[in-house]
Amino acid sequence: MSNDWIEVGSIDDIPRRGARVVRTAEGDIAVFRTAEDRIFALRDKCPHKGGPLSQGIVHGTKVACPLHDWKIQLDTGEAVAPDEGCAATFPVRLDGQTIYLSVQPDAGCPNRG
């Protein structure tokens, strides 16, 4: 499966320790920026009850879902134990200041939409 890279914006468009949303027909994708300017992308839907991960507080390379505080790892999309579940991850890369995203989720998590 090839990735069609879409230019979505600049790293400065995303607040540090926060996220912005890329809206697609299949659902929202949350694009996160950590305190150290690393970029990650997850389906904007907590595996618990569908909460908007993009509205959570980023700490290290995890985000806390604003609804019930599940911690989701940004690199794998997996919930932190003892919670179980995942949000699909999306390929995302930085080229200089510009962020490129693929709207085809990575394989591995069944919660793709």
Binding site: I6, V8, G9, D13, I14, P15, G18, R20, V21, V22, R23, T24, A25, D28, V31, Q55, V103
Partner: protein
Amino acid sequence: MWGGGTRPAELKKIAEVAEKYGVKYVHVTGGQRIGLYGLKKEQLPGICKYLEEAGFVSGHAYGKALRTVKTCVGKEWCRFGTQDSTHLGMTMEKLTWGSWTPHKFKMAVSGCPRNCAEATIKDLGVVCVDSGYEIHVGGNGGVKVRATDFLVHVKSEEEVLEYVAAFMQLYRENAHYLERTAPWIERVGLAWVKEQVVEDEDRRKALAERFREAQKYAQQDPWKEMAENEAKRVEFQPLKVVTS
């Protein structure tokens, strides 16, 4: 709505905003405020700007902060009212809004001991009596209900405000993060709190002064700032909408 009071012009503004932005549900909250539900994040900058221009301040309902000062109608409109509870409540709220606290902080002023404003389950509750104002502290109306402890009786509104400022400052300087006043007072003891703010007048005045000083800088409404700052407003929109 300061101290739970409002005016027709304010209500009209709230109604206009609710209609203009397609609010799905309007709720009168327990905190004597009006909640507008069912909006999308993208709508918030517009709605906040509208409300801010109409003179409203965000209710800080999300903060480890002063929440509300509830009131009953008091002497002006109720036959049992002993003091002007609505005026005192509004003044207390204007003094303390925007302050950050170890955990949420709720107050109320009841115009008489019938206590219609439920002041005795608040972090700080004032019960007005013929001879002045009774100040009660450490109440909690949540998961574990705790009635307040009586702190002190004072004769004037000014004294109430001094005690409010001093008690809040003592709580801020002493309690653990996420410790409501109820477990805090259980831990440190009411006797100690009384030593600090009731018995020691100098300490009370110093605490109150520190609170007032901090409030000069703390009374910032983050939603107002967001509404006025173009760069911040943009963050409420999706980064990109992919249409294919």
